[in-house]
Symmetry: C2
Subunit: 254 residues, 2 copies
DNA sequence: GATGGCCTAATTGTCGGACAATCATACGAT
DNA sequence: ATCGTATGATTGTCCGACAATTAGGCCATC
């Protein structure tokens, strides 16, 4: 057989339009908060129909490059929010049959360094937010769903304290995937709440006195403890993680 | 001031349709590869216009939940590809003014554990692909762009060898963000190629004999070396990373 | 001067219909 | 069995339309 021909690629117009707008955003030609022209105007400029423009806008909107400020009509340029991007990642991982063990292993590797760097770089404001998260969890008399959310929030605050966006974003999907199983665990294992609260306390103390070694060590122990909790709760480590679907209706009740 | 009222939320139809389809995909009711009904049929079922359905499809398509098999008309359900998701993450990070230092620091924390776990879990097939990637880079007489891509490919192969999708996906955005600056570095620092090749060789050897300590250690050194290279190339660590925009035209030349 | 009401124009969300180009499929010819 | 053809389905794109909402200007009132 001779050299195969390259595929003929037909790119639909809505994708070209989306790509053109996306390029201007990525090149900072369009800056955050800037308002996009109206759909009619865009259609005129690109020389396509408004329907085509709208399909392109949906693509950009879904990617987080455009958003509509609440109560506003025109779309504004925006930077994809970390939470939204993380949701996409965790959704992808869940669809790829990621096991709980994989998530736990990643946490094992990622969280201790995060704690260490947080101990090194944290500011007073970071301490405040971590403390607040810890206290909210330690209050403890909340329902399971909220408690789980608060436990995740503690990790998020520590992640932000690293002042490294890459690390902070990297842990977000893990927290998403952790959440559902953590909910089961907290319900099933009576001592889980107090153990988590104690771990948070020690981590917070270490970060407070900038003790990088202790912060890393306690965080490592904290993660190891999770695994024990899962075993106590009879949650198999090799079963698939799930993810709550409520992502697209960011704006809730229709 | 009294308790503020909740915002009135009006969810447009195209988003409801997208959410409804996404939910069926996430719940595995619609399985991968399954073909979606035609737009007309979907419009009939949802009781909306075809234009509305199309906007919803663009949203799902952009999120990677739907794709069109090449040369096919109907959309099929798909799981978001890791590469595509990673592109979104790196794009988001770039737009959030992530500095090169942050990327490097994340690599410092993430890659050594990946090498260690790869050394523990690698199969013979993994060794083959890592070896192939190493050889392609070591051949060395390629142009800069290709060389950079091959260097990243080495990391990818090691990541896959961990058999942990979470870790493998976590490093992908870092490689995307590394690429542009690595291109500059390889061009400016003459000895860069050989040093990278040597590091790859040692890492590969360690992974081959399942020496987890050595794998972690050499990888750590490899990453530290990157930093030296950047200093030699006069690339400031606190400058923003960039990302190539060619993401949306996955299908190239229009 | 600030506030609130009112009017007009602009904008979005949605609809209906239309058509060319392409794809899927069955049928028939060689 | 392979190739050409006819037919229907599907997508990409267009046009035009309309209700609901928002933006912005103008004016009266306090």
């Amino acid at each position: 057989m001779s050299v195969p021909f390259a595929q003929i690629l037909r790119v639909p117009g809505y994708r070209k339009v989306a790509a053109a707008i996306a390029e201007r955003i990525l090149s900072r030609e369009l800056r955050e908060g800037e308002r996009l022209p109206s759909e009619t105007e865009l259609a005129r400029q690109f020389g396509v129909n408004r329907s085509t423009v709208r399909e392109a806008l949906r693509e950009l909107e879904s990617g987080g490059l455009l958003e509509r400020r609440p109560g506003s009509k025109l779309m504004t340029v925006s930077r994809p929010q970390h939470r939204a991007v993380a949701k996409d990642v965790s959704r992808a991982l869940a669809l790829h049959d990621v096991t709980f063990f994989e998530v736990w292993e990643a946490l094992t590797q990622l969280e201790p360094p995060i704690a260490e760097i947080a101990a090194r770089n944290r500011t007073a404001a970071d301490l405040d937010s971590i403390t607040a998260a810890r206290q909210q969890f330690a209050a403890g008399n909340t329902e399971t769903g909220k408690a789980v959310h608060q436990a995740a929030e503690f990790f998020r605050c520590v992640g932000r304290a690293t002042h490294n966006q890459v690390l902070a974003l990297a842990q977000e999907p893990l927290l998403d995937l952790l959440e559902p199983s953590l909910r089961v665990m907290i319900d099933k294992v009576p001592q889980a709440r107090s153990r988590i609260a104690a771990a948070q306390q020690r981590i917070l103390e270490a970060i407070t006195r900038r003790d990088v070694e202790a912060a890393r060590g306690w965080m490592a122990k904290h993660i190891r403890d999770f695994r024990k909790g899962y075993e106590l709760a009879d949650i198999a480590l090799d079963c698939r993680v799930h993810v709550s679907p409520h992502r697209l209706p960011v704006t809730g009740c229709g």
